[in-house]
Amino acid sequence: MREAYLRYVAVAVALLCLVSLPVWIGNAYYINIASQILLFAVFALALNVLVGYGGLVSLGHAGLFAIAGYAGALMLQAGHGHLVSDLAAIAVTLAASAVFAVLALRSTGIGFLMITLALGQIVWGVAYRWASLTNGDNGINVNSRPAPFGLSLAGAEAFYFASLIVFLLAVVTMVLFVRSPFGASLRGTRDQARRMTALGYNVWLIRFLAFLFSGFWSGVAGLLFIYYNQFVSPQVAALQASAEVLLMVISGGTATLLGPIAGAAIVVVMKNVVSAYIVRWNLVLGVIFIAIITFMPEGLVPGSVRLWRLGWGALRTRASVPSLRVQGDGAP
């Protein structure tokens, strides 16, 4: 009871902080970083549907993210409006997700991972080598940001609020998803696929739909990204990008809501900080991967909770130790 109450307070405080963030940060550079965190949090939440709740590790999600970005950018370049372009981009991403899912779900475990990796590389290959379509390494510029209901998103602050709305929508759908029977059945296929089949669930279909759901939000994040960056290049589809978002999910803690969000914040902040001082981001990324696996394999959020409980427990027992001693022989 008290915990539920505390949770509402925490959510309210977090919301208040997020909404008032531009006021107390002020600086456009930091507001932009906050927007980046939000959009990558959407992406990480999307991947977490598969990695955390479905037990299906995808290393090709940057491909879906990039497909949405490229589809949107190409439509805009062809002179279509923002709404049409965005809807078309989401439709293309959903179609691509369906193809990815049909192929990758031929297998689970390592097989799934390797197939998604290969599919992601195909997207990268198209983006990089099919220059007549994608302009190759030079990428595509996105010249304008949309202005929904006449509100321009050109400024850092306005874009932050737009990202925040999308992010909150994503979080709400994730909460609904986790609590729904569908979310429960997806977790069931992760833990006991054979038992779920015996119970009459269509395991393949559940995983397929989860992949589409994940693909949808990856696509939304991809669109946010091209509007944020106003540029899309093959780098977006590279294996490094897939690895980065996987790092966000895992560093934060899989199968939690807060984990991917925290992970996105950590990775984005670190990337910006590290890039400011040294050019060796990939080296740092690799070291972080290995450090997390070695020291906090369950992720930072569950790991911190565990350490917190451990520390709290230690504190409590220490507090109770003197009274025990008083009752005992009274030794100091």
Binding site: V57, L113, R129, A238, A243, L283
Partner: protein, 286 residues
């Protein structure tokens, strides 16, 4: 006419190279079920080391062997010190090998800079032989010869020696293999070393032909992956057939559809996944 023959020769050479790369991957990923994402990095780092040895005037074959030996040691260390602690845990293994791949890539960039390195073809392997009125570049034929040698040696080792039988036993049922006195853990380290060494050897063999440049690692890794999925995980014959298939597809695709050559490579893999998920020569694992 002549162009097509030349393309075919190039395809066979690339196929040989791909087999050297993917045979090791087939052993590590296919047999031992370790998702080793550093395999492309072994190829690239091996190639860089080989190029450096060549720069110091070391004989080509010696350079290739030295580089293979160095990668075998590195692979063994990675397997013993890091991967071993994560036995059977796919996700941590993936992250670990991915992290290592990023570190190796960045270290290579630091040491060998971003410029491509292309050593000259060794003098005794230059030139061409004439047969049936067509000139065949010797070096391409040598790559093919080495690949065939390695294929035969691996086949003999896995299928016909006591060591191979022990490896297969360890893969099929590690617990029972241990009970009958097979040191499964040491065997797996050995196989991992062998795979890493083969990748490095392929890297040096390929250097005069592909050149060595940053990003080569993540270009080769998917190729090894395609070959293994295509041929069937754990099947050396599958890896051999898959390598030559991909070699042909790459060269002919490059010639006919330059924009889509890279994508075409993945088509047979996708077809195989849909129609025959266990791969062309894979056995069905229940």
């Amino acid at each position: 006419m002549n162009v097509w023959v030349l393309l075919a020769v190039n395809s066979i050479a690339l196929g040989g190279l791909l087999f050297l790369l993917s045979s090791g991957f087939s052993l590590i990923f296919g047999l031992m079920r370790i998702p080793n994402l550093t395999h492309g990095s072994f190829f690239m780092l091996g190639a860089y080391l080989g190029v450096t040895f060549l720069d110091h005037g070391i004989n080509f074959w010696l350079a290739a062997l030295l580089s293979a030996l160095a990668m075998a040691v590195l692979g063994g260390l990675i397997e013993r010190l890091l991967l071993r602690r994560l036995e059977g845990q796919v996700l941590p293994q993936v992250l670990l090998t991915l992290g290592l791949a990023f570190i190796i890539a960045d270290v290579c960039l630091m040491v060998w800079t971003g410029d491509p390195w292309q050593p000259a073809t060794p003098r005794h392997l230059q030139g061409a032989v004439q047969a049936f009125g067509i000139f065949f570049p010797i070096y391409r034929l040598v790559i093919l010869g080495v690949a065939v040698l390695v294929a035969v040696a691996l086949w003999l080792m896995v299928d016909w020696t006591r060591l191979g039988a022990m490896i297969r036993a360890g893969v099929d049922d590690a617990a029972i293999a241990r009970v009958v006195g097979i040191k499964v853990s040491q065997l797996f380290t050995l196989v991992f070393c062998l795979g890493a060494a083969l990748a490095a050897f392929a890297g040096v063999m390929g250097a005069p032909y592909l050149s060595v440049y940053p990003g080569l690692d993540f270009e080769m890794l998917p190729l090894a992956l395609i070959v293994v999925i295509l041929g069937g995980t754990g099947s050396l014959l599958g890896a051999l057939v898959g390598s030559f298939l991909i070699g042909f597809l790459y060269n002919f695709g490059q010639a006919m559809f330059p924009d889509l050559a890279y994508v075409i490579l993945f088509l047979p893999m996708l077809l195989v996944l849909v129609l025959r998920p266990q791969g062309l020569f894979g056995r069905v694992v229940s």
